[in-house]
Symmetry: C2
Subunit: 221 residues, 2 copies
DNA sequence: TAGTTCGGAGAACGGTTGTTTACTGGATGA
DNA sequence: TCATCCAGTAAACAACCGTTCTCCGAACTA
């Protein structure tokens, strides 16, 4: 905060953020690879050429958007992992936080869901990296819980990825449900998500007893 | 087969299929909303205007591609569900079939993964519908298994969605792993997928004992 | 055989795109 | 105060886009 950056840099960051916001808005109804540079600058109200003062191309802007979007998600998960409640309460809290996050940053969620497998390589990579870091963080938290005693590290990681994936999927489904305008749709998604997490949690508790057969390397041919 | 359709209609279907194939090929590296009509016709080798003889616009072509892509997936799942093996063998077979399907129809998988949350509403809807039907089929199969005795219908459906989602996600991950050229990446994905399915399966077997608390309607506010 | 149907060609349309080049004017720092 | 920097401007570029309209010729039908 403090140093106040000078009028010059402050203005630059302002229009830079305006570009990011405008792009994110436009990306609600199209995908990044079809989003035009001129389209974005038009919304912001600056000349097309001014775009280059901030980003080399739309792909670069997309990567920045990824950081912005998943940065806020990061905060969300830290909040969940910090808790020490029982499994049931933790699940409720988790889903509730996802729900509220979707309501607060719908455009960010939409963007991540869409571009995760989208047409721009650099953006896909950025999302994959960030979600990977994400899973790592979840894995660390899971490992420190009593239930994980005797678990192999890669099994913990496997579980973490299952959780992360479920959260992302739930968030996307929730977004679609709200967009479709159907009345009870969102609540339905939330209920299903809770039960799915519960089932996974049950599987987790019984993993040590039955999860044998550590299918090492090999394979079939 | 037999009726041979006449030279006229046969040719039409031929170029129609050529359009679909060309589009699918181009969609390996971009998303539908950025795919141009001229781009497709150029690959096929016909005039841009001829496109309209087959599709109103690219969205319509996309919907047809969805049916084509998920139609083959449908066959795949029937094969899996038909089996009567034990849980472990079933999981191995499932993952193996997914693996081979990804190798046989990589472009179809890529397309579905990308456009599931893509920028074209009609296509998203078509994919959602098809995956829904898919989950319904899986649910019916799960219900007929002894393990599901005493399960509520919507709990079975919840489990089916969990499975379907996992298969789609695994297929997409497998595709990315193979594209990235990393040597053991694909095998790693397969191993993780197997263990995740195993964990879910364990959760399923213990669901009746611990899955209580049927969080009915209500909610929090 | 004569008439109709229709998949495809071709040209032209107005509009949009990304990118380059040269320029302006206010903030910046000596 | 004065030279420098640099975010944003303006004009022009060639390339491409989706769509319309008119026409052709081979396949169909009667």
């Amino acid at each position: 905060m403090s140093h106040s950056l000078g009028v010059r840099q402050a203005q630059k960051q302002k229009t830079r953020q305006a570009l990011l916001d405008a792009a994110l808005g436009l990306l609600e109804e199209q995908s990044l690879s079809s989003l035009g540079l001129r389209e974005v600058t038009r919304v912001v109200g600056i000349a097309p050429t001014a775009f280059y003062r901030h980003f080399r191309d739309m792909g670069e802007l997309g990567v920045v958007l990824v950081e912005e979007a998943l940065g806020s998600l990061h905060v969300m998960v830290r909040a969940i992992l910090a808790e020490q409640d029982g499994a049931e309460e933790r699940i409720d809290r988790t889903v509730a936080v996802v729900e509220q996050h979707v309501r607060r940053y719908p455009l960010h969620i939409r963007f991540v869901a869409r571009e995760r497998h989208g047409g721009v390589r650099a953006v896909r990579q950025a999302i994959a990296d960030e979600l990977g870091r994400f899973a790592e963080e979840v894995a660390a938290a899971l490992k420190s819980q009593p239930v994980s005693e005797g678990w192999r590290d890669d099994d913990v990681r496997m579980l973490a990825e299952l959780y992360v994936d479920r959260l992302v999927t739930t968030a996307a489904a929730l977004l679609d449900a709200e967009a479709d305008g159907a009345e009870g749709a969102a609540e339905q998604v939330v209920r299903v998500a809770r039960r799915q997490l519960r089932l996974i949690s049950i599987g987790r508790r019984h993993w040590r007893e039955e999860g044998r057969g550590d299918d090492g390397g090999g394979g079939r041919e």
